[in-house]
């Protein structure tokens, strides 16, 4: 089963492809194109922020600590709160 984050990223990437093709098809003077460009820039910013703050740090941490069992265990099963 795919995780929620992967699904959201896939939707984001598909929207990015659709909006960029739409932007190239619409007339440069039309308001719709401006709206599409606005959506495109917002989406691109969100995806970039997600990439920089979440995906990249996780990938780097995974690369550095891949031999540490404690790290791998904490990624697979999140630690439970002690009462």
């Amino acid at each position: 089963m795919v995780s929620l984050a992967v699904c959201l990223r896939l939707i984001g990437c598909e929207m990015l492809v659709i909006l960029s093709i739409l932007a190239s098809l619409l007339d440069k003077t039309s308001n719709t194109r401006n709206l599409v460009m606005l959506g495109l820039s917002i989406l691109l910013s969100v995806l970039c922020i997600d990439m920089v703050t979440y995906v990249l740090p996780n990938q780097i941490a995974g690369f550095i600590y891949q031999s540490h069992d404690e790290y791998l265990h904490s990624v697979v099963t999140p630690p439970q709160k002690q009462t």
Partner: protein, 259 residues
């Protein structure tokens, strides 16, 4: 929640595939004029193939009664006939008002094609969401099967839209807008799954009736406009290719769903 998101991912993938018709933008007007008759012939083959090989047997499998399905197909043909009369009436009314716009008007066949395509994509959305609700794996195979039949159909549709008077950019754009009806279809199924499942027995034959009507009454007469040996052989080959393509996709779909 994951099922809903996966359904949306699949629907957007189908919509992205409809943009495959954007190849028309890279062709010169001269090249387009040469290939449009063959694309229209391909559209006829794909639409008739989709109706007779894919949609009607699927509806019979779901409903079981052949006579009821055939009657619903006829209702679809009749509905699209009335719709075209309305479009033509509106079209003629506009021409009465502004005779100068005659050259820029869009032929009814293009609008009919867009309506038929939107209904078909709505049905595809119901099928995608229904299969994801049943099992994510079945959902993925159904999406692959729909994408496989979507690509040749979009090529044919763009050919029909170009013949109907749209510019290449408009044809690709409007075709894409119609393909977005896959998302309301999926949302309709997710929200009202039981009604959507039973509505397929009506929607599938109606979409088939629409395709038969568009292919037989709007597109085939266009194929008869030019009659020489080159067009006879080329258009017959494209027509046959469309039918064989749909047959191949149905076989692929069965293989995917059986594995």
């Amino acid at each position: 929640m994951i099922t809903v998101l996966m359904t949306i991912v699949a629907c957007l993938a189908v919509s992205v595939c409809s943009l495959s018709s954007a190849f028309a933008l890279w062709l010169t007007p001269k090249q387009l004029n040469r290939i449009v008759p063959y694309l229209v012939a391909l559209a006829v083959g794909v639409l008739l193939g989709d109706a007779f090989i894919h949609l009607i047997p699927d509806a019979v499998n779901r409903h079981g009664s052949v006579s009821t399905i055939c009657f619903t197909v006829l209702i679809g043909v009749f509905g699209f006939f009335v719709l075209e009369k309305l479009v033509r009436w509106h079209h003629d009314h506009l021409n009465d008002i502004k005779q100068s716009q005659l050259e820029n008007t869009i032929l009814p066949l293009a609008r009919m094609n867009l309506i038929g395509d939107a209904v078909h994509n709505f049905v595809d959305g119901i099928l995608i969401a229904g299969s994801f609700l049943a099992d994510p794996l079945v959902g993925m195979t159904t999406t692959l099967a729909i994408i496989a039949h979507e690509v040749p159909q979009e090529l044919g549709d763009v050919g029909a839209l170009l013949r109907g008077g749209y510019t290449p950019k408009q044809a690709v754009l409007y075709n894409f807008y119609c393909s977005l009806s896959v998302i309301p279809g999926a949302l309709f199924t997710i929200l009202l799954s039981q009604i959507a499942e039973s509505s397929l027995t009506v929607l599938l034959p109606i979409a088939a009736g629409g395709f038969i009507y568009i292919a037989a009454s709007d597109l085939i007469p266009v194929l008869h406009e030019r009659a020489n040996i080159r067009h006879l052989s080329g258009q017959s080959a494209s027509f046959a290719l469309g039918i064989f393509f749909m047959q191949g996709i149905v076989l692929l779909e069965q293989t995917l769903l059986n594995t």
